[in-house]
């Protein structure tokens, strides 16, 4: 448990988080491993956790009718996978498909939501960190949509 707490505290997503909060989070955490080529979650499934990626690479994909899934982005070491656990209806919007074997810390969303309701300071800390991730990914998506390397721009 102590080791898990240390891993959470060392992960960039929780950098600088007060130690009593790290301790609280550890109660909702577990070590997980996914082999390369497997799905961590799929679109439409219930979103009950998120992942602090320690090693490996995950592709975020969207299902496209009559064609293979489209890879939207990849996430790797030091990143966070999944925020659908945070907001209703708590369902995954995309597939998460491992490109390489992934080692991660899974945080139980239901457990964490309960703790955040009980301690709004913790909830605000978590929300601020996810808002930052969302802002970065929204900006990256807008940049990607510009398709700046296309001929004729």
């Amino acid at each position: 448990m102590e080791n898990l707490e240390h891993i959470i505290a060392e992960h960039p997503f929780f950098a600088g988080l007060e130690s009593h909060y790290t301790n609280l989070l550890t109660g909702c955490a577990s070590n997980v491993r996914f082999d390369a080529g497997t799905y961590i979650f799929k679109e439409g499934e219930e979103a009950n956790e998120f992942y602090l990626i320690r090693t490996g690479k995950v592709a975020v994909e969207i299902f496209a009718p009559q064609r293979k899934p489209i890879m939207l982005e990849t996430l790797g070491e030091g990143e966070v996978l999944g925020w659908s656990w945070l907001l209703p209806p708590y369902q995954w919007r995309f597939h998460a498909h491992t490109v390489e074997t992934v080692r991660a810390i899974a945080l139980d969303g239901k457990c964490l939501r309960t703790k955040c309701e009980q301690d709004h300071d913790l909830g605000y800390e978590i929300l601020k960190r996810f808002a930052h991730i969302m802002e970065q990914r929204l900006e990256a998506t807008r940049f990607q949509l510009l398709d700046v390397y296309r001929v004729g721009r």
């Binding site: 960039p12 592709a59 890879m71 990849t74 030091g78 990256a140 510009l146 390397y149």
Partner: protein, 282 residues
Amino acid sequence: MTMATAATTDPMLPQPYSVRQVVKETADTFTLTLEPSNGAGGNRFQPGQFSMLWVFGVGELPISISGDPAERDRLVYTVRSVGQATHALVSREVGEAVGVRGPFGTGWPVEKTEGRDVLVVAGGIGLAPLRPVIYEVLHNREKYGRLVVLYGARSPRDLLYRKELAAWARQRETQVLVTVDYGGLSWRGHVGVVTTLFKYARLQPARSLAFACGPEIMMRFVARDLETHGFAQENIYLSMERNMKCGVGFCGHCQYGPHFICKDGPIFAYDRMRPLLEKYEL
């Protein structure tokens, strides 16, 4: 007469070169190696400089030099075929003539990076003007700190210099990260814009200089994100591009605010460019 001497004496007079080699990099991008038709060597250039290349009977193009500064018997250019003149240029056969003026413009301030880390951020064909920097650092490894190359392209089939990227990644004190905006399912690398690589690069902004080249929008995103990561504006350099004609600041075609890109640039520190980058329609 060396090319540098020719440029000094009459910068408007093209020197005769012939095509030694043409390498297809991608479906529309080719690397041409030119050698002086008179057999003279001594082609000195600074990484980041460009030449004006004449395709006789078709037109003249500003093209950045993408070769190794240490190889003085040749000039190397990577060209994307997107119009009549570039198509004519990349269609030259081995032995055919090309006129060369230059080299022109300012280079990357590689000398300022001695003892410091070098961060290269390239997008698309923007890797070509940065390749001479990479050669320079790798040839003189003891003079520089870490070399970090971050390269983004539209898709895996648009990546330039694939074998060299892999070879650079094996060099000591060198980190090479590649990403594509659109990856097919067979692509095992990163997917996402080039700025998403910053978090994987072990950056030390206080002891680094950053050189960025690519579409202007991409460079704006890059420069802004580098600032967020702690880079001072004066330690970020961009390669700017406008419609260059004479190459020596006479004609004014490439005027950008108070600057002529061909003569005052194309390499500028971000602190000088930032106010202009934010102006509409400039």
